[in-house]
């Protein structure tokens, strides 16, 4: 017997399934075909099934079913709690880029207006400089500096939201590495499910693409860490131990991501044990 979207065909006879589009879509999405015995559907069978009147009608009905099914699949895909978090993180990272670019540009512009001005030996943080530019500049430059400050404010608010959302969506990963970095890892993997499927070694170098490919292609040293470098226990570790801390941390993150995806709640015992082994790795005595 062959199961098609319009019905089951057995020995040349076709028995129709539901007429209702929702029922047809439900069935289509649940069918799994044995490919070795598969024969593609024929529109004439659908006519004999009474599902449609002719070829044109077959295509109209089929398109209706497929559009409905595709719309539902898209909706289901976006219903996951990680879908919006992913957009939030990417927006956050892009805002950082934009803020930096605009700040640099505004500073260059300001220096043209003030030939004696230099940033050397001044340790002025970028946001203070932007404020100075806003206060001291007329016209568009002042406005641009004002916009940069606005953007920076929105960015701070967004970062808080990302962090809070990550604590909710991926509690274990966030507990190990912080909400922001956890969300970045998830965004780089393309979602919580893809992240939970990654091996620890891949998580360790997520975000170090250039270094990884240059290693694979030309045998430069392999990257020790990607995004997880942003975590204090990696970047605060002594240089010779960073690789080890990154490796151990990535191992625990791989487990945490799986807990987050499949369980969705905090696993205190795992977290305690994981924190201990990461701490041990950072102290430099044996594992």
């Amino acid at each position: 017997m062959q199961s098609y979207w319009f019905g089951d065909v057995s020995e040349g006879r076709c028995s129709p399934v539901a007429v209702d589009i929702v029922a047809i879509v439900n069935r289509v999405l649940s069918l799994s075909t044995q490919m070795d015995a598969f024969i593609p559907p024929d529109w004439q069978q659908a006519v004999s099934c009474g599902v449609c009147s002719d070829r044109a009608d077959y295509l109209v009905r089929l398109q209706e079913v497929c559009i409905t099914a595709a719309e539902r699949s898209v909706r289901e895909h976006y219903a996951g709690k990680d879908a919006e978090l992913l957009q939030m993180v990417r927006t956050l990272d892009e805002m950082d880029t934009v803020i930096n670019l605009l700040s640099e540009r505004a500073a260059d512009w300001y220096m043209v207006r003030h030939p004696a001005f230099s940033r050397k030996y001044r340790r002025t943080p970028s946001h203070i400089l932007v404020r100075t530019i806003r206060e001291k500049s007329r016209g568009a430059l002042g406005k641009v500096a004002g916009e940069i400050e606005q953007l920076a404010e929105t960015r701070t608010a967004l970062a808080k939201e990302v962090s809070a959302r990550a604590n909710d969506v991926m509690p274990n990963t966030s507990a190990l590495i912080g909400g922001l970095v956890a969300a970045r890892l998830m965004a780089h993997a393309g979602g919580l499910l893809p992240l939970s499927r990654l091996p620890a070694s891949a998580i360790q170098v997520l975000g170090a693409r250039t270094a990884l490919f240059s290693h694979l292609k030309t045998h430069t040293p392999s990257p020790k860490h990607g995004i997880i470098f942003q975590h204090r226990r990696v970047h605060n570790a002594p240089r010779d131990l960073r690789g080890r801390v990154a490796r151990v941390l990535a191992g625990k993150l791989a487990i945490a991501a799986r807990l987050d995806y499949f369980r969705g709640i905090t696993a205190p015992e795992f977290l305690e044990q994981a924190q201990n082994s990461i701490d041990t790795a950072g102290k430099g005595n044996g594992l």
Partner: protein, 205 residues
């Protein structure tokens, strides 16, 4: 194929992706579409109104909309939700585009929807492109065509594109296909090759 001078076009409702028009014809830009590039650098398969097409890796429906202008029906398979939203919109305006949100590596999930087709067109960014094509040729009629847009960089970035190309040709021939044409899509697309195969009339011979 329809050419106005040396410009490839298709005839259909315009404004799908702000494509430029030549009179009432839609310009099919070779720098944008790999299939259009293929018609510029190679011979390709003549698209005619009777053709039924299975299109794997439909993306936003840009190239799909041009193929649909030429052919009877296009079964457009795409896995990612974001481009699928655009593809659904294209399908709403083009009655002969059937959008299917599924993974082209798993034909068993969409087999009940796809009839026997005259042409399988594949443009997917996956490492196992030859095996995806071979698996999807259950839908291809004997004597039908397979157009494979080989993204050599998706197969293995470390490998020389020429080697990837040769290995793919070999895999297709081992699966019983006759390779009819194979060209690189330079200067329009880098490290991309187009391969046309014919499925034998009687499988296994």
């Amino acid at each position: 194929m329809i050419w106005i001078g040396d410009v490839l076009v298709s005839l259909g409702e315009g404004g799908v992706y702000n494509e430029r028009m030549l009179g009432s014809a839609r310009i099919w830009e070779p720098y944008r579409s790999k299939l259009a590039a293929f018609y510029h650098v190679g011979k390709g398969v003549e698209l005619v109104p009777s053709l039924r097409v299975l299109y794997l890796g439909a993306a936003n429906g840009t190239t799909v909309s041009h193929v649909a202008d030429y052919c009877e029906v296009v079964y457009a398979v795409e896995f990612a939700p974001r481009p699928m939203q655009d593809l659904i919109e294209v399908a709403r305006r083009r009655r002969n585009v059937i959008p299917i949100m599924a993974d082209a590596t798993r034909p068993e999930t969409y087999a009940p929807l796809v009839e026997a087709v005259d042409l399988v067109y594949q443009d997917v960014a996956q490492p196992d492109q030859a095996s995806i094509a071979i698996r999807n040729c259950v839908f291809l009629k004997p004597g039908g065509y397979l157009i494979l847009m080989l993204k050599t960089r998706s197969v293995d970035v470390r490998k020389d594109p020429l080697i990837v190309f040769d290995e793919t040709l070999l895999a297709l021939e081992e699966a019983g296909f006759t390779v009819q044409e194979s060209v690189w899509l330079a200067p329009y697309h880098q490290d991309h090759a187009a391969i046309i195969c014919v499925k034998p009339e009687k499988p296994g011979e």
